[in-house]
Amino acid sequence: MTAPTLEYAELAPLITVFGAAVIGVLIEAFVPRRARHTVQVVLALLALVASLVQVIALAGTEVVAAVGAVVIDGPALFLQGTILVLSIISIAFFAERKLEAGGDAFAPAASSLPGSDEERVLVRERRLQTEIYPLMLFAVAGMMLFPAANDLLIMFIALEVLSLPLYLMCGMARRRRLLSHEAALKYFLLGAFSSAVFLFGSAFVYGFAGSLRFSEISTALTTEIGKEGLLLSGVGLMAVGLLFKVGAVPFHAWTPDVYQGAPTPVTAFMAACTKLAAFGAMVRLFYVAFGGVRSDWQPMLWAVAIATMVVGAVVALTQTDIKRMLAYSSIAHAGFVLTALVAADQTATAAILFYLATYGIATLGAFAVVTLVRDSGGEATHLSKWAGLGKRSPIVAGTFALFLLAFAGIPMTSGFVGKLSVFAAAIDGGATPLVIVGVLASAVAAFFYVRVIVLMFFSAPAEEGPTVAVPSVWTTVGISLGAAATLLLGLVPGPLLDLAQQAAVFVR
């Protein structure tokens, strides 16, 4: 019996991040506490940058690696690169220590009880949470593997590797810890439930095709006759698992609670990167494995896309908390991506890749701005407190307005080009009714984005309103990068669109 060969060169970006995560765990055990924070941040940054360099060096590669279990092709590399860029910026928000007196956004020890003496001692000692960095690296590695998975088993493993650290990270907020714990519990229970549904679906698909490989499942679609029941129930159950991860209606209930309760840097990271990874995996699964039965799954996704856009946009109107509002806006955006996914061709893939990149960067920036607006209780997330922010701090309010305009899809921002390309792809794919609903939902969504902008610039500041904290250079650089990318991709979208177009070919 010969040992299987691994394509180490092509898998290097993944191995780097996984390796660094394991080293991060060892650092927790062996490096003295005082040096730990610095070492962890430097290690995480180095690993992510090294991995990004390797991804860029691999550009253009099309290889089926690891005995067919993983595919390194255009969409996988594009998404891996984007996820890495977004996580490098996230590290900057994680490492921010100037906003919170005596620490970062995370509880000094997640196990200490809220309000206990132990917690007070740890806060007084200015103890810092360092476990968050290896957890984040594991999540990033899972996210990078997810869109590259080429069989059902690897896809399930990647799903769990990215989810389990995120459940924990959600429960680690320094302030409002009960809310944070509750967010972690809800995310965990619903997440584990949806993973189990996903797994049961993949069991049915395996039962139908007799193989876990996407390519062989795709072949079995034409050769296996008379087992359509197994296949379709499998496809449906797997779709539930993936739609849960992207936060599509009716599997969106966790999104607002978790986005609100989690520490804001974690929310930023999770909102941007999980969506990228999950949509990447979804596109590959539906196009490569189930492309032959698209007429069977398209109606389901039509219904989900319409429900997602409408519910996301309409419910966002009633929100009074800025983080919840952004959560519902992210649900609406998942619906916009789904309109292109229904089209199922190369243009659609390119449009989805571009949309995800622009959405991710704007989301990261928007949540980072939320960390800056603070009062005595920590972040002031209630919308009424944001009144008149433009008079107090025009730069911060202006940056936030830019991100909101990008979400709304106003020309000159990246969001406009992204929305245009997904809707164009959907019309090409014959989903014109979906696009009409999409445009209407965008109009509704634009209303609540503009309402926040009006609130910030044209109403009188609240009497005891929040202050805008001055962040360290970490967050400043992160937000500036996000804002610059949002503007630049709106003005000159050509290069990234071309890149997405070239990258949009799946290797089967």
Binding site: F193, L199, S211
Partner: protein, 99 residues
């Protein structure tokens, strides 16, 4: 060998698990129900592996057991933290996050 009886059992277990998650109020019981759902999937995988005469499904079952163990670690950590703070593991009490 006909896999049908095993599949029927697997679907029954999965349904019991799913109903448990949706209906029970205790976070621990809901969590146990998720584990039941994972095991139902394992049973289906092994039955299909036997039907197709290859080992892929059995390999999946091993991986799922490892994943389930990891999930227990994460899940119990979260549930125990909540229980120590609130003296309750009921999901109904965790209701601070609302519209």
């Amino acid at each position: 060998m006909s896999p049908t009886p095993y599949l029927v059992l697997s679907v029954i277990l999965f349904t019991i698990g799913g109903a448990g998650v949706l209906l029970r109020r205790n976070a621990l019981v809901a969590f146990m129900s998720v584990e039941l759902m994972l095991n139902a999937a394992n049973l289906a995988f092994v039955a299909f592996a036997r039907m197709h005469g290859n080992l892929d499904g059995q390999i999946v079952a091993f991986f799922v057991m490892v994943v389930a163990a990891a999930e227990v670690v994460v899940g119990l950590a979260i549930i125990v933290t909540i229980f120590r703070t609130r003296r309750s593991a009921s999901v109904d009490d965790a209701s601070l996050l609302k519209l």
